[in-house]
Symmetry: C2
Subunit: 228 residues, 2 copies
Amino acid sequence: MGGSRAVVLASGGMDSCVTVAIARQTHDVALLHCSYGQRTASRELRSFHSIADHYGIGTRLSVSMEHLGKIGGSSLTDPSIPVRGADLSAKGIPSSYVPFRNANMLAVAVSWAEVIGAHAVFVGAVEEDSSGYPDCRREFYDAFEAVVRAGTKPGSDIAILTPVIRMKKSDIIGVGLRLAAPLHLTWSCYQREDVACGVCDSCALRLRGFSRAGVEDPIPYDVRPVYT
Amino acid sequence: MGGSRAVVLASGGMDSCVTVAIARQTHDVALLHCSYGQRTASRELRSFHSIADHYGIGTRLSVSMEHLGKIGGSSLTDPSIPVRGADLSAKGIPSSYVPFRNANMLAVAVSWAEVIGAHAVFVGAVEEDSSGYPDCRREFYDAFEAVVRAGTKPGSDIAILTPVIRMKKSDIIGVGLRLAAPLHLTWSCYQREDVACGVCDSCALRLRGFSRAGVEDPIPYDVRPVYT
């Protein structure tokens, strides 16, 4: 929606959908989706395109980083590692952590930004209310910005923006509702593609967020436990 | 060859071949090749496997980052941009620069290193004698190391090592000869796969390096100009 160009990394999930809504207020948005061998890749991609269609965003790029699946090490990409049931009080790095995934995605985003002349990359990472991934902290994005300054052409000037990183899930939902973001088109579940399972970490965080925001999650669930 | 594990990024070219020879002295080497839609991808990959075979390195990963080809912006990946003839006195960033390419490759290397428990990633980047790419300077690798510290699991401790970065091409050839690196198996040409063209930037740098080292380049060339 006018303004200078920005690449927004959009998974098809809720946090990145709200990030798109925020980015559109100031930037002309180009949308990037990265699949990396995750179990629900095709469902996510459908949400990605639905969100792009909703906003009339024509500049889209969908890339496949299947090597992350080959490399493995995560329950999201390795069928031999089970996706564990949600335990929102657990500490430490969960089995769904994909090693250094966000650096891989940011690298693609910056390459694209440099070519299309975008001066910002938006990422819907969430630090506190998320799952303890090391590459979801602002410290990581600050470090990455330094790499971008050192490793792109002089004058590229690409900032890495993380507008929801300090928000709680319920705040993100609140902002999404205020901006009329199409939350009904998003997909968050780590293990199913027909209806959301309701029990993986990602479903649990999402359902808890809606519960705390005092609104009903508009997507269909297999089971819908109450997380408080 | 014993020691702790390291991932070495190997293009199939001379600098990375010598980097493999150096890394083997202290580390148990795992070899990573990234193709990114460059013109000579299949020839490079052949060299990669020949070098791995030569050293008996079984742990290999070859990944395709075709999105860099889709993204374009470089004469290496975009057939509509010609590979310019060599001009070793030219300043600035050449048309063969692939935007932020090395960050994409490093991200894959670090993901793999984290999964296989390697504490080092070796890269055969060359700062001075190379072609002015912003992502070939040590400053860039220092910044990337900070990203690795911020974005991997605690205890991963992955260093980014660039043992030839301050060397001139002729020094690299000297080190390669001293370590009996299989330079005859390497490939550097940006535009041909049957014999090296002899006239692209990469061939010119390589031929000038051999000339200055006072040895004959063992690979076949279409034409073999004298660069001094």
